[in-house]
C-alpha cells in the first residue's frame, strides 16, 4: 500500500520526464535522419575519399559506447571548442550523431538493394545523377528502409536513459531523484520501466500504422 | 493379427491398412481406405490432386494421426501407440518426400548417417560405412561430401532415398518423388526406384508417372474424393477400367505425362 502512495505521489514528476525523453528521442532521430541520408548517398555514390571518410565516421560512432560518447562530447570536446551547451542539447547532438551512423547503414543497404537498373533508367531519360538520386533512388530507398528504421525508435528510447549520466532530466533521472529521496527504489524504478515499455510499445504501434500508410502495392520484393 | 483370409502361402503381409478416416477442418479427405501390401510388392496410388493421397501415406507412418482406422506393420498394430513406440515403427517405414527435405546443414553422407547414429545408436565409423554403401547404391558415391544446395534435384532425391534405405526399412513410402523435378532429372530417380522394385523392396508409391506405374506396379490404386474407387493390376486398370471416371483420369494423365509405355 505504502508503495502505491509513493508511486502515486511521484507520478506527476515522472510523467514530466516523458516530455524530455520523447523530445530527446524524436530530436535525435530527426537529426540522425538529416545527417544519415547524405552520408548513405555519399557512401554509395561518392568518391573513394568521401567513402573512406564516411566509413571512419560510422566506425567511430558505432564503435564507442554511448556513455563514453556523452562524456567525451559533453565534458570534453564541446567545452574545448567553447560551446557551452545544456545537457539536453548536448544529449540530442550526441545521440543524433550516433544515430546518423546507424541510419546511414540502413539507408545504404536499401540503396544498394535497388541495384543499378533504376539509376541507369533515370540517366537514360536525361536526368543528372543528382536528380536521379533525389527523384528516383531516394524515394524508393527510404520506403525500403522503413522496417529497419522502425527499430531505431525503441533502440534510441532505451538508450536515451543513459543521458542520466550527464543529468538530462528524463524519466530515469527523475526516478533516481525520487528513489534516493523516498528510500523506495523498487516501486519507483519499476514504474520507470513500465513507462519505457509503454512508450516503446505505443511508438511501435504508431510506426506500424505509418508503415501501412506509405506502402506501395507489390513494392516489397 | 494374422494375414487375410484366403491368403496364398507365398504371400507375406507387410502392411495392412484398414478403414482409415481423416478430416481437416471439417473436410473429410479420407473416407475409409483399406488395402494390404505384401512383401516385395509395389503399390502405386494415383488420383486427382488434393490432400488425400499424401495424407494417406503420412497416416501410414503416423506423421499424421488418422481419426479412425487401424494400420498394421506385419502383425503389430502401428496406430494407437505412444510416441516412443511410433518412433520404432517409423524406423521400419522409410519415407521419401516430394520436396526431398534433406537436412540443409549436413552434406550428403551425413544426411544418410545421422539417423543411424542418433536413432539406431550405431557407431560413427559403422554408420559412415553403411551410408557410403547406400549412396553408392543410388549412384552418388562421388557426391558424398556435397551439401544439398550443391546437388541437383535428382541427386537430392536419390540422397533422400539412400537416407531412407539406410534404416533397412520393411517398406518404402514415396510421396510424389518426381513431382518437384525438372523433366530431364525424373529418369534417374525412377531408375533407382525401378531397381529397388526389382530387388524385391516393398513399396507404396504416389506418382503421376504412368510409364513407371505400368512397368513396375503390381497393383494400382485409384483414389478419388477420399475413397478407393478401384484397384487392380496395371493391365486391367489401364485397359479395362470399371469406371468411366478412372478411364478419363488416366486419359488425362497420359496426355500430360506421356503414354503408358513410358514414352514422352
Amino acid at each position: 500500500m505504502e508503495n502505491f502512495i509513493v508511486i502515486y505521489q511521484a507520478l506527476p514528476f515522472l510523467l514530466q520526464g516523458i516530455i524530455t525523453t520523447l523530445g530527446l528521442v524524436l530530436s535525435a532521430l530527426f537529426l540522425g535522419f538529416i545527417i544519415g541520408v547524405p552520408l548513405s548517398v555519399g557512401q554509395v555514390f561518392g568518391s573513394s575519399w568521401t567513402k573512406k571518410f564516411i566509413g571512419i565516421y560510422i566506425w567511430f560512432f558505432r564503435g564507442l559506447p554511448i556513455l563514453v560518447l556523452l562524456f567525451l562530447f559533453y565534458y570534453g570536446l564541446f567545452n574545448m571548442i567553447g560551446l557551452n551547451l545544456s545537457a539536453f542539447v548536448a544529449a540530442v547532438l550526441v545521440l543524433g550523431l550516433r544515430s546518423s551512423a546507424y541510419q546511414a547503414q540502413i539507408f545504404r543497404g536499401s540503396i544498394q538493394s535497388l541495384g543499378q537498373g533504376q539509376l541507369l533508367a533515370a540517366q537514360s531519360l536525361g536526368m543528372s545523377t543528382g536528380k536521379a538520386i533525389w527523384n528516383i533512388i531516394l524515394p524508393q530507398a527510404l520506403r525500403l528502409s522503413i522496417p529497419g528504421w522502425s527499430n531505431e525508435y525503441p533502440a534510441m528510447l532505451t538508450e536515451s536513459a543513459v543521458t542520466y549520466a550527464i543529468g538530462v532530466m528524463e524519466v530515469l533521472t527523475r526516478g533516481n531523484f525520487i528513489a534516493s529521496r523516498t528510500y523506495k527504489p523498487m516501486p519507483i524504478y519499476l514504474t520507470c520501466a513500465i513507462i519505457f515499455l509503454i512508450l516503446s510499445y505505443s511508438g511501435m504501434k504508431i510506426l506500424h500504422i505509418l508503415e501501412e500508410k506509405v506502402r506501395i502495392p507489390g513494392f516489397e520484393e | 493379427m494374422k494375414g487375410p483370409e484366403g491368403m496364398n502361402q507365398k504371400k507375406e503381409l507387410i502392411l495392412r491398412i484398414k478403414d482409415i478416416h481423416k478430416s481437416f477442418g471439417g473436410k473429410e479427405v479420407l473416407k475409409g481406405i483399406s488395402f494390404d501390401v505384401y512383401k516385395g510388392e509395389t503399390k502405386v496410388i494415383i488420383g486427382p490432386s488434393g490432400m488425400g493421397k499424401s495424407t494417406l501415406l503420412r497416416c501410414i507412418n503416423q506423421l499424421t494421426f488418422p481419426d479412425q482406422g487401424t494400420i498394421w506393420l506385419r502383425d503389430q498394430e502401428v496406430t494407437h501407440h505412444n510416441l516412443r513406440e511410433i518412433n520404432l515403427f517409423r524406423q521400419k517405414i522409410g519415407m521419401v518426400f516430394q520436396d526431398f527435405n534433406l537436412f540443409d546443414h549436413l552434406d550428403a553422407v551425413r544426411n544418410v548417417e545421422i539417423a543411424l547414429i542418433k536413432v539406431k545408436g550405431m557407431k560413427k565409423e559403422e554408420a559412415r560405412e553403411k551410408a557410403m554403401h547406400e549412396l553408392k547404391k543410388v549412384g552418388l558415391g562421388k557426391q558424398a561430401s556435397l551439401y544439398p544446395a550443391q546437388l541437383s534435384g535428382g541427386q537430392k532425391q536419390r540422397v533422400s532415398i539412400a537416407r531412407a534405405l539406410a534404416m533397412d526399412p520393411e517398406v518404402m513410402l514415396f510421396d510424389e518423388p518426381t513431382s518437384a523435378l525438372d523433366p530431364e532429372l525424373i529418369g534417374e530417380v525412377l531408375g533407382v526406384m525401378q531397381k529397388l522394385a526389382r530387388e524385391g523392396m516393398t513399396m507404396v508409391v504416389i506418382t503421376h508417372e504412368m510409364g513407371f506405374a505400368r512397368s513396375v506396379a503390381d497393383e494400382i490404386i485409384f483414389l478419388e474424393k477420399g475413397k478407393l474407387l478401384e484397384s487392380g493390376p496395371p493391365e486391367i486398370l489401364f485397359y479395362q477400367p470399371k469406371y468411366e471416371r478412372t478411364r478419363r483420369f488416366l486419359f488425362k494423365l497420359t496426355e500430360l505425362y506421356g503414354d503408358l509405355n513410358g514414352k514422352k
Binding site: 559506447p65 556513455l67 563514453v68 562524456f71 538508450e159 536513459a161 530515469l172 519499476l190 | 540443409d104
Partner: protein, 223 residues
C-alpha cells in the same frame, strides 16, 4: 600539466585496471547470456502455453526496459527486498537478462525459419521431436542467428560501460575518475574511445570468422 607523465604514470595504470574489469564483465556475460537466450528461445517456440507465455513476457520486458533501469533495480532496488548484490554481480546479471532477451528473439526467428519439412523428415526416420530439435533444427537455427547474435554481443561489449553507473569501476569508470580529478576529459575519453574501438573491431573480426566457419553451402538463401 598534460604531458607524457600524466599518460604513463596516472592514466594508463588506472585504465588497465578498468580494462581488466571490463574484460571480466564481458567474459561472464556473453556466454551466460547466449545460453539463456537459447533456453528462452526454445521455451518460446516449443514450450507449453505457460512456458511460452513467460518466455515471451521475459523477452518483451527485458528488451523494452532500458538496461540502466535494470541495473538500478538490481543494485539499488534489491537491497530493499533483502538481496544484496556486489556491483560486479549486479552488472553481470543485468547484462545477462538484457542480452539473453535479444539473443532469444534472434534465435526464435531463426528456429521458425527452419522449414517444417526438416522436422517431418527427421520424424519419418524415427527421431523423437526432442532429438529432431537438437540434431536438425538447432544446428541450422543457431547458424542462422549468428549475425543477429554477433550484433548483440558487440552491443553488450559497449554496454558494459554502464556497469560504472552501479559503481563497478570498469574502463569508462576508471577514466571518468581520472578525468574529473585532473579535468582532462577530452584526452582521457579519446584514449578510452580508441580502446573500445580496438576491442569492438577485434570482436567483429572474430565473429565474422566464426560466421564464415559455421556457414554451409546454400544456407544463406534458404527460404
Amino acid at each position: 600539466m598534460i604531458n607524457l607523465d600524466f599518460f604513463l604514470e596516472i592514466l594508463f595504470p588506472s585504465l588497465l585496471e578498468g580494462l581488466i574489469m571490463t574484460m571480466q564483465l564481458i567474459c561472464w556475460s556473453i556466454p551466460i547470456g547466449l545460453v539463456m537466450g537459447v533456453i528462452i528461445a526454445i521455451g518460446r517456440v516449443y514450450g507449453n502455453v505457460l512456458v511460452s507465455f513467460f518466455s515471451k513476457a521475459y523477452i518483451i520486458f527485458f528488451r523494452g526496459t532500458p538496461l540502466l533501469i535494470l541495473l538500478f533495480i538490481l543494485y539499488y532496488g534489491f537491497p530493499s527486498i533483502g538481496i544484496y548484490l556486489s556491483p560486479f554481480v549486479a552488472a553481470v546479471i543485468g547484462f545477462v537478462l538484457c542480452s539473453s532477451s535479444y539473443h532469444a528473439e534472434y534465435i526464435r526467428g531463426a528456429i521458425q525459419s527452419v522449414r517444417s519439412g526438416q522436422v517431418l523428415a527427421a520424424q519419418a526416420l524415427g527421431m523423437s521431436k526432442l532429438s529432431a530439435v537438437f540434431n536438425i533444427v538447432l544446428p541450422q537455427a543457431l547458424r542462422r542467428a549468428i549475425p543477429g547474435c554477433s550484433n548483440e554481443i558487440i552491443y553488450l561489449i559497449k554496454y558494459s560501460s554502464l556497469a560504472f553507473m552501479v559503481t563497478c569501476i570498469e574502463l569508462t569508470g576508471a577514466g571518468k575518475i581520472v578525468a574529473s580529478r585532473y579535468f582532462t576529459y577530452t584526452e582521457v575519453f579519446l584514449v578510452i574511445g580508441a580502446i573500445y574501438l580496438i576491442i569492438v573491431s577485434l570482436a567483429t573480426k572474430l565473429l565474422n570468422i566464426l560466421e564464415e566457419r559455421a556457414s554451409f553451402p546454400g544456407w544463406e538463401n534458404r527460404k
